[in-house]
Symmetry: C2
Subunit: 142 residues, 2 copies
Amino acid sequence: MLTIGALAKKTGTKVQTVRYYEQIGLMPEPGRTEGGQRRYHTAELDRLSFIRHSRQLGFTLDAIRELLKLSDQPDKSCHEADEIAQRQLNQVEQRISRLEALRKELKRMVKECSGGHTGDCRVLEVLRDHSECLTDHNEIGA
Amino acid sequence: MLTIGALAKKTGTKVQTVRYYEQIGLMPEPGRTEGGQRRYHTAELDRLSFIRHSRQLGFTLDAIRELLKLSDQPDKSCHEADEIAQRQLNQVEQRISRLEALRKELKRMVKECSGGHTGDCRVLEVLRDHSECLTDHNEIGA
DNA sequence: TCTTGAACCTCTAGCTGCTAGAGCATGTAT
DNA sequence: ATACATGCTCTAGCAGCTAGAGGTTCAAGA
């Protein structure tokens, strides 16, 4: 029987976050003591570990909800889980290439800066005029 | 004299976003018609372009605030602007390496999945047990 | 058994950076 | 004069938490 604090600690989660997961239905409502405090079993620890690990891998809470559901039906085809992971992989790859374009642009900006006055700072100049950019970077909406 | 709609269009911004920037003090309060509609000059167009371009490069609104301030003082040393850009570059690089660790892990997960039932799906298995991971990925807080 | 104090409880509000919608006013073209 | 696209303000919502106020419970030590 774990308190919420112990559960949080074991999974590297904040106590508030655990309650938040319960609130949005990602974690089940646990049993309570007579005084009204939450007490957790190992099953809930496993579930939270799953959630946290999935978050670390960048899955959204909605995706995690799906994955948890699938995980509870061991006889179902693995196809859906696979697809969710594949989708996540694609997104990660997209974000990487966007960030790489950014990196390139930022590197160039910083490198070209002469270290003089802001009046002729390359950094500010580039920001002022997109046409000076080489790549089609776009982090907004990434 | 541009309407807010024209300004938004020219900079690839949504009208609401322009008003939002004004609200948080990133854009100045523009002149108004007798009826109370905003009208913009070229200076404001330039400023919004600067903001948008900086956003595309991933700068936070706070960083942009700084950059704009510096940009208004052409005699000041370029050092600070440089530093902000360098910081942004570092962040981008950190994010890239985190995402690359993720990609690796996700790729492995997807590849190892046999396509059978969820009961022995590698994807779900890996999510259940972090110790199966090779890398120290962590997207949370990235 | 009593007392302390850390950990728990609920509830509300805030973070970033927008975005959407309701309900109404303005501006411009015909 | 009229239509209607665009403008206005205000409020609320998105993800995924996080922090704080103000109060209660639990477990360990005296």
